[in-house]
């Protein structure tokens, strides 16, 4: 215990703080880039998955397979797969790029189901009203369905991103200089593990807490979905 107090002034010195700040920024950047790109791609995936018609059957199956497979692989395995795959193709890709791609691939699989659930929560009658006016599937989704689905999609999507900040610690395994990696490094330099990882834990909290607040704010601002919610009506005779 005495050792910890003795180390505190030295541990919170300029170079160490810069290092921690940098790695915290890296953790945040990695997560946000991965989740945002992943979120965008998840929309494309859901849209493709909902393509009607026989010819689109293989496309639909690929989308379903992607989601089902990636949700069943541990994140760290995805990270290693991406690492070795990318390095085989372009040996000089940065570790940051590799981490973002891995996060992205994972985020697509998880947010796709959130988005699909959100889109399906909009009553089918809204879609039919749009169809009867000759709106295309894309127009119907962008102008009618998606605006009504946001309140259902945003809260769980942010919750996913917040919880995923923690899971990105796993990419330290491939040598990305994010928070946990720096923690191990400082620990190896002789700093007390309790001190180092206590600080790291606090950093993770500082990163995810504002995001949670943002999530709550958006949830309030988007409010409860407009209009009465009806269950999906399959057909009326």
């Amino acid at each position: 215990m005495e050792r910890i107090f003795e180390q505190i002034p030295r541990f919170f010195s300029g170079p160490n703080l810069t290092l921690l700040l940098e790695s915290a920024g890296l953790t945040l950047a990695m997560t946000m880039a991965g989740c945002l790109i992943g979120f965008g791609l998840a929309f494309v995936l859901v849209y493709v998955r909902q393509t009607p018609g026989k010819w689109a059957m293989p496309l639909r199956w690929i989308c379903i397979l992607y989601v089902e497979v990636f949700r069943r692989i541990p994140f760290i395995v995805v990270v290693y797969l991406v690492l070795f795959f990318i390095q085989a193709v372009t040996p000089d890709a940065s570790l940051f790029t590799i981490a973002v791609i891995a996060i992205c691939l994972y985020a697509v699989a998880y947010t796709a189901d959130i988005i699909r659930g959100g889109l399906e929560s909009v009553p089918q009658t809204q879609v039919e009203a749009a169809q009867a006016m000759n709106l295309s599937r894309l127009q119907t989704n962008l102008r009618i369905v998606l605006p009504q689905a946001w309140p259902v999609i945003v809260p769980p999507a942010i919750a996913f991103a917040v919880s995923f900040i923690k899971d990105t610690a796993l990419v330290s395994q491939v040598g990305v200089f994010e928070l946990t990696f720096r923690g191990k490094e400082l620990n190896n330099q002789g700093y007390s593990g309790i001190l180092v990882f206590g600080t790291i834990a606090f950093c993770y909290f500082l990163l995810s807490f504002p995001l949670s607040m943002l999530g709550q704010y958006l949830e309030k601002r988007l409010g409860t979905p407009r209009g009465q919610r009806r269950t999906r009506k399959l057909w009326s005779p």
Binding site: T125, E128, L135, P147, Q148, R226
Partner: protein
Amino acid sequence: MAHLAVSDVRASYGALEVLKGISFSIEKGEIAALVGPSGSGKSTVLRALMGLTPITGGEVDIAGETMNYSSAREVRAARDRMAIVFQQYNLFQNMTVMQNLTLAPLKIKNWDKAEVASEARRLLSLVGLADKADAFSDQLSGGQQQRVALARALALKPQILLLDEVTSALDPELVNEVLDAIRKLADEGMTMVIVSHEMAFVREVADKVAFMDAGQIVETGTPAELFDAPKTDRARDFFSKILRH
């Protein structure tokens, strides 16, 4: 030449055939009413015409043109000529009244922006809602929403207007405001196919009535013929039950 001619139209939900060969036709400016018990397929006829329920057989002619509903392009052409008002209004919840009215005319029909806006305002005053242009649908009563839905359908300048039990979801005291708006359209000579349980209203505005049961048209005639002297047992049974009170 009939404005709308439906002959032997069939539709199924899976193995269940819900339209077993429907045939009827209406002239320009005429109003036809489909009446009958719940589940007889009245609404499905309108849904099939709008391409919302797939047609498995038969033929539909609109203004002398035969529409092949298995072709997406011709379904679009059919929808371009008709507009439907739903029982549950189905106004777009994320849009104002004005946006509901102008969306398709601007984005699908590509009509002039200023003309679309002034036409939308004219239609809103026609249905008595000129002051509600910026309201969202959850700020309106059911009767107001249904009148907006009517104006939205009219904004598409349809050749044929389909009304699917437009008063069934409304409180009794709101029914008349919607019926009044439809009467105005009838006076203007709009061609309409109406599915309705408001027999007194049907008798007043309809030129011809078709009585449907179990996916088939059992009997057709003028309102007076059908309501006062039905020929078939099924129709006699139905009208004796509903016209008594």
